[in-house]
Symmetry: C2
Subunit: 179 residues, 2 copies
């Protein structure tokens, strides 16, 4: 089968193609999908997939990612992109400076839509917020540590092996295989 | 004419009815409208109005409000409600503690939709972020000061006389009168 990944990010499309290899051929299309304002990345991804399927009329994947800090009640959550571009990692560290609990997690919703409807898969990775370290990746990667290393200290392969997004894609892969 | 204000907030509906008095009769309906994720309150309000008009088939008003802090690059912006419920006013004050520019503004988008399409009006009020004062209002009102008084130190009438939302409604009123 052939699946269209609607994303403006070529890296994500390549990652998906790797994980779904042998199950589906992944093609990559850029399509502006309206995103809903919702605290759940699964709901945001679902909305985008429904829209993209209606527009394209063939099996599609969409994704949405949030960053959740426990001591900040889940902030920045699904506002992660906006928060990154306004107050940035400096802001997150400032808000956490007097908190003892530094735990946080990334969550990605991967939505798949075809003629049978929309299914959504969530991948999550838990870690802690630390002072910025590393030069790879983007966004919150330098301040998010898993097993003693920030995501920005990992190569793309290392990161993809454990990332929230790859876990979401693996869940999709398992579902595609067994359904 | 009769306009339906789609809001779950009875106070807002009464405020609109007062401002549009003599121009339109305002009725109040609760309808869950999906909100788009967008940095512009005008765009969010427009999306809701288009949806509500499609569902109800009669002239509708919807609104959306953001809170913008200059030194934080417009944060929390249209994520204002989510930011208020996670990091709250304490978080905003923490982020601003080392900034000298304390200026901020509220912006409300008021969208009106009928058979001719969707029009949107923006009301804005400028002020400064201060330590919490006052017991009225909600959200950012206690830390937002205009002319030496926070919105939470004002009565509902005082606040309505100068508020971002009332300015948006006035712009709508003027447009309805002259079109």
């Amino acid at each position: 089968m052939k699946i269209t990944f609607v994303t403006s990010n070529l890296h994500k499309a390549r990652e998906a193609a790797g994980i779904l290899n042998g199950i589906a051929e992944v093609e990559h299309v850029e399509l502006e999908c309206p995103e809903i304002r919702n605290d759940s990345v699964a709901e945001v991804a679902k909305g985008k997939a429904a829209y993209a399927y209606e527009k394209l009329g063939r099996p599609v994947i969409t994704d949405d990612t949030g960053f959740f800090v426990s001591a900040l009640n889940g902030f920045p959550g699904s506002c992660a992109a906006f928060v990154q571009k306004t107050i940035g990692n400096e802001g997150i560290l400032c808000l956490l400076s007097d908190k003892t609990d530094k735990s946080a997690w990334f969550e990605t919703g991967i939505a798949y839509a075809d003629e049978d409807g929309v299914s959504v898969f969530v991948g999550r990775i838990d870690g802690t917020v630390v002072s910025p370290k590393g030069v790879h990746g983007f966004g919150y990667d330098p301040i998010f540590s898993v097993g003693g290393k920030t995501l920005a200290e990992m190569s793309e392969e290392e990161k993809n092996a454990i990332s929230h997004r790859s876990r979401g894609f693996l869940a999709l892969r398992n579902w595609l295989v067994t359904r």
